[in-house]
Each structure stands twice: as structure tokens, then as C-alpha cells.
Symmetry: C4
Amino acid sequence: MLEELKQKVYEANMELPRRGLITYTWGNVSGIDREKGLFVIKPSGVDYDVLKPSDMVVMDLEGNKVEGEMNPSSDTATHVELYNAFKEIGGIVHTHSPHATAWAQAGRALPCYGTTHADYFYGEIPCARNLTAEEIEEGYEMNTGRVIIETFQGKNPVYIPAVLCKNHGPFTWGKDAAEAVHNAVVLEEIARMNFMTELINPQAGPAPQCMQDKHFMRKHGPNAYYGQGK
Amino acid sequence: MLEELKQKVYEANMELPRRGLITYTWGNVSGIDREKGLFVIKPSGVDYDVLKPSDMVVMDLEGNKVEGEMNPSSDTATHVELYNAFKEIGGIVHTHSPHATAWAQAGRALPCYGTTHADYFYGEIPCARNLTAEEIEEGYEMNTGRVIIETFQGKNPVYIPAVLCKNHGPFTWGKDAAEAVHNAVVLEEIARMNFMTELINPQAGPAPQCMQDKHFMRKHGPNAYYGQGK
Amino acid sequence: MLEELKQKVYEANMELPRRGLITYTWGNVSGIDREKGLFVIKPSGVDYDVLKPSDMVVMDLEGNKVEGEMNPSSDTATHVELYNAFKEIGGIVHTHSPHATAWAQAGRALPCYGTTHADYFYGEIPCARNLTAEEIEEGYEMNTGRVIIETFQGKNPVYIPAVLCKNHGPFTWGKDAAEAVHNAVVLEEIARMNFMTELINPQAGPAPQCMQDKHFMRKHGPNAYYGQGK
Amino acid sequence: MLEELKQKVYEANMELPRRGLITYTWGNVSGIDREKGLFVIKPSGVDYDVLKPSDMVVMDLEGNKVEGEMNPSSDTATHVELYNAFKEIGGIVHTHSPHATAWAQAGRALPCYGTTHADYFYGEIPCARNLTAEEIEEGYEMNTGRVIIETFQGKNPVYIPAVLCKNHGPFTWGKDAAEAVHNAVVLEEIARMNFMTELINPQAGPAPQCMQDKHFMRKHGPNAYYGQGK
């Protein structure tokens, strides 16, 4: 079942080591079929060089395994929460990419210092709080998702398709698995640039709001004119 | 038309990912035929691994498309302004290369800390101011070019073939598209070195003027003696 | 003798340059056969591109060469001490990987800033003190091992399979040579992330203890649920 | 003439881009035949991907070209000075490798923070002063060599086979061209490690002298025991 989606999610997973975002098995990508209410995710702890499309695990939105011989990613419960709360998204990625993880470890939101950021993310990328001991006890991965959702109260997850989880690392998402990976690559790149920006000028401030508006909207708004159209 | 120039501009564009200056489609190179008053530029948002010489778009110096099936780079209006103002240049590059972009995000000119810089750029590489909300509204890409030109009042763009646009990234230029790319590579490398220089010694000062003169002139002056002659 | 172990130790050694942890010959891996009380180690100063499985040197736990035409690694006496003191370990690695070495040169333990660290190491990775002049005189490599052992008094080397030696570099270990190399790769990656973490936020603190417990135990405790089981 | 030496110097030059020390043509290697009093050096400004052994230029120790169709490296006069002053050396390298150049731009000697440094360099690597305007005028490249020699008064160039030239970059040397390149690689690596060391701990001090003695002497002294002997 869902062979085409499995293939796409497999390819999105394989893009992570190719883009240098992954050490060993530290990441996972999923993609959802909204009509069927099922999503496909990488199995837990399987090396990328032996991973096959048929290894992908099919899950429902209550977190039950529907198909697959392997255990799904240990972070599956986080994906379940995000798919249920963010109805517009079609793919989710988790990595420990080094620069984004460093910002997460530092416990800081990623400021919008420039157009590289504004081309993809509308405003700062928030850093979700730590889970309490009780939340960890009750269900670590589920509550990781719930704290992300709490962090996005009043924010549009389509306009800010990324979050940093404190002392952990980033999650990104998108309209499908491939776009979620694309956003993970961009997040890592701006985390790297912004790290250097503050060392070059500790007083650096965010890009002017009018510039952020312009760049985000020329790629994403109704009057977008970047690229070759749809 | 302009098949040879298209080939050269295509090759100059392909050099950007090869040199590690580009993530996804974040860059563009153009080259001009001064006699015909036409320039050739990369189409907007096309992946480098499917780009072909025949995809290059031909523009005139008033910003009209003369030939090509695709939309030209979204930054085309910036190129138009620069070609019109800087008559000696034959190629222009825009990237979001990480270290140069970090300096642009920091809003700081790149000091001349050494001979690596002085071999290519005579004095500091300026950082152009932000556009106003009105300038963005009136024509973002056109006014990006005009603010660069304003930044170069009293400066020689042939002697300083690069600029940082605040909260955005670098533009470089040269006698043709290939040299403009060469300068983009050098800019990224000195942005990286200078970033580290200030962290190693916050009191570091620019290279002595006599040293800057010597290095720039041994490669670029009328008595240049670097290389194998012309 | 020990042909299978030689092959495994050879492969573990070759993984070091492949993972970018090694410049020239700056590293060594060994693996032990606990039943026979013999271990196999890389020869000293041999280039990785000419290294063969049959070059591996067999040593006993008193530091005598049992088989092999070449001199064993100059750090062999350190391996002897560690195998004798840490009975549960089956492989040892020494590298000068740049970020871990920078922490060692800085003389600081590596704090646990996040789950990347907590997935592999339970608590901070200690930095062993410098040897005294007398200890260097008496037996530099042997006493390097003894100072590591001293550093682990009251600590569990299976739960913290790494150490930084002040002004020198890291040693890591594991259940076999391959796992010791895996831990060396992880150590380098967290040394890199943590370096950036402190520059992004000088007030960054360690990950909450409950989070460290959760991550270490979901991969290593009796109720581990990461991966596909054993 | 000197065909074997040309081949070796060619290969040493080609090792620079392979090791990532070189952007474009920013470097040169030479090697000397002490019996004949002639040295072989890379031609000026020739791309590494078209460079051939037969392009190497033969020079005498007064700086006269003895054989070769091309212009020798623009830094040839520096090599002449160093070969005349440092009688024990057989090869010289100049690069703009990024981390070593950052220290040179910062105008700081490279402290010996650890054994990676002490394995190759006995004590700190000095930073030579800037040339005066008169020295630049009189003979920039020649006086670059003379200021290096001045910097080594009271120091042993065989024990410290490297120097940083302020606001410029590093020179390294060795018993032949290959060893000089080896030292250039090591210098770049320790410049990188030491850069991070100071950011991790601004109070970091040099490795204890007894440790520096031990590491340098176990590889270089009369009782050296690293490697497989000579």
C-alpha cells in the first residue's frame, strides 16, 4: 500500500545524508496521504546505506502501525501530533543538523537576519521550551509534539515551517516530504549564517520588516514572482 | 542569438555550485555583450542540475526580455542598473555564499586584513545600506542596484569589484562572467578568513596601506608582474 | 592468529579517515579478544592508504608484542592500561579530531547540552588532568592511561565511553573496535555543536537531567526502545 | 635538467589543492638540490589542473632563472633568501590556507596548545613583523624572506619549520618539498584547532613544557620512537 508515497518518503530520507544533515541514523522523514489519513515514516535506527523504500512503515493518525515489518522511528509520536494539529502540512523532518542543533542547545529562537531566511520563513524561528519531568514521563515523543504545537499558538506553521526544540534539535515541515527536507537544508544554512552574523557584529539586528515582507511574499504570497510559475 | 555568450554565462553559473557558493538556486550570473547592448542571465529558480545553455535569457539594458522562454532571474533589474552605471564591467554575480552573507547580515564592510584581499580588492569592500520601505515598494530589485551605485560614489568599481547588500548578500562583478565568479569565490574566502581574524584578535587592524598598494598593483597595475603576462 | 579480529580492527581504523577524523597518521584503533587476553592494534605511523589487515600488531595485556612485524602504535601502553582497568570494553580509539582536541586543549569537560550527547554519553565527558613531569618521565603513554583511569574513579566507563586528555586529544571506547570508532565520530560531532552552543549563548546550561535520563535510557537502558531490537 | 626534482616538486605542488590548502593559484612549492645549488619552483599564476612537471622553473641561489619557459612564482625571491639562510632545509611552501592566514592577519604567534602542535613544532610558531614602506619599495619578496630570517634569530628553523607573515600568510619548510607540504597541512590544522581552543576557553594556556619536550622528542629527537624507524 501507498507504494508511491513510500518511494517519495524514502527519497526524501536519502536526501538528508546527501545534503550533509545527518550523522549515522540521526534523523527521520515522514510524508502523509491526507485522504487516507495515513502517513509513511522511516524505520528506527536503520542505516541509510541499507534503507529501501519497502522498509518504510505505514502509520495511522492515532499512532498505530498499519503496515511494515520494522519499528517506526522512535519520534513517530511527535509526527502524529504535528499532522493532527497542522492540517496543511504534508511532510515532516527531524534532524540533528549541527548548526540548527547548536541554536536549539543554546535555547534561542533564530532571528531573521536576512533575505536568505525571509525567502523561506516569515519571522523568527521559535525555540520550544523544555518538557517537564512529568511530560517526559507521560510520553516524551508525544509531548514533544504538543510543546511544538503550544509554541505555535498564534503563529502560522505554513509561514514558519520549522521549530527548534530546546536542548534537542530542529523539526521542519512542508507541503510534502521533499519540501520538508528542503526546509531542513535551508534552516541549517541560515543557522550557520546567523551564528557567524552575531560573532561579526554582536549588535546586529533583524532585517527591516518591509524587507522581510518583500522577500517572503515574492516567493510565497499570492503575487509571487520568483521562479517559473506553477 | 549570442550563443557563445550564453555558453560562457551558463558555464559561469555552473561554477557556483562546483565552488560551493550556492545552496539550491540561490544565485545568478550574467554576462554582457557591450557592442550589442544585450546581456544574458540565468532563468529564475531553475535547478543547476537541469540548467542548459539554451535556458539563458537575453535582456536589453532597459530590462526588456529580448529572447528566452523562461523568466529571467528575479534579480535582473539589479543587473540592469549595474551594467548601465558601471560601464567597464562585463559580468555580474549574486550569491548567498555563507561567510559573505554573514558580513552582509552583520551590516559591516569587509576590512582589508591581508594580502589575500589586497590581491583582488583595493581597500575595504563596502556594505550598502538598507532600502527604505518606499524604495522597496517602488522597485525592490531596481533600487537594490541604485543603492549599490550610490555606495560606489567616489569609489572605482573596477578596483573594488564587490559589494555587500545589508541583510541580503554579496554582488560581485568583473570583466566577464567568469571573472565575476572568480571574484565571488575570493570574496567568500576572505569573508571567512576575516571572520576568524577578528575572533583571534579583536584589535586586529587593516594591512598597512603600502602593503595593500604593493599587492594590488603587482597583480592589477600597469606594472603588474604576477602570472605569465597577457 | 586472530585473523578475524585483525580484519575488524583494520576496518575500524580505515573508518577514521573516511569519517574525516584523521589527518595523516594521527590516530589508532585497537580491539581485544577477552578470552585470549590479547588485543590487536594499528602499527605506528603507517599511512592509511597502504595499511593492510596483516599489518595489525598483536599485543598481550602486559604490553608485550605477541605477533607482528611492525612497531605497534606509540600509544599502545595507554591501551594496555585501559583494557586492564575497564574490563567491559572491547575496543579503544585515539584521534586528534579537531573539535574534540580543541576542547582538550582548552582543558574543559564537555557539558551535556543536548540529546545528541545524551543519546550516547550519560553526563559530561571529563577532561583528564595533565601528567606531571615525573609521570611523563616514568612512562608517558602508560601514565596517560592511568590518569584516565584516575579520572573515571566513581564514573562508569560504559556509560561515558570517552575522555579528553588535557592539551592532547580524545580517547573513546566501546564494546568493540567499531563501536569505539562510532563513539569517536559522535564525540567529534558534539564537540562541534557544543563549541557553537556556547558562542550562541554564553549562558547556555546543560540539558535538564530528566531529559538526559530519558535519552540515554531509551537507547541504552534495560527498557531501550530505539532501533530494531537486538 | 633536474627532472627527478621537478617531478617531486610538481607532486608536492599538486598535494596542496588535494589537501584543501589552496584556492585558485594561491600557493607555491619549491625544492632544492643542495649539491648543485639550484632549486625548482612552480611557475607564477598557472592553474593546478594544467600544471605539468616540465613547467617547473629552475633557479639559482642568486635568483637567476637557469631553465624554464615560464616566469617563476612571484614569491621566488623569498625562497632564495630562505634557502641561503636556512642551510638545512630542502623545500619551501607558501599558501594562503585559511586558518593559518587568519592568525597571520591577526598578527599573532601560534601558541603551542597541545601535542598535535608539539609533535611537529617545538614551541610557538612566530609571526613575522610587517615590512616597512622602504623594505617594500626596495624589494618586497626579498625582504619578506629577510624579515622571516630576522624573526628566526635565536630560533632553530629545523625545530620550528613554519612562520606566519603578518597580514599575509604562512610559509613552511622541511627537509624536502614533500615534508614542507606536510608541515603546511599540519600548520593549517593546528591553526584551526587553536582558533577554537581560545573561543572555548579564553584563559587556555600552552601545554606544559615537559609535555612539549616529550612529544617533539618522541618524533624528532635522537631517541625518537614514533613510527617504524628510518
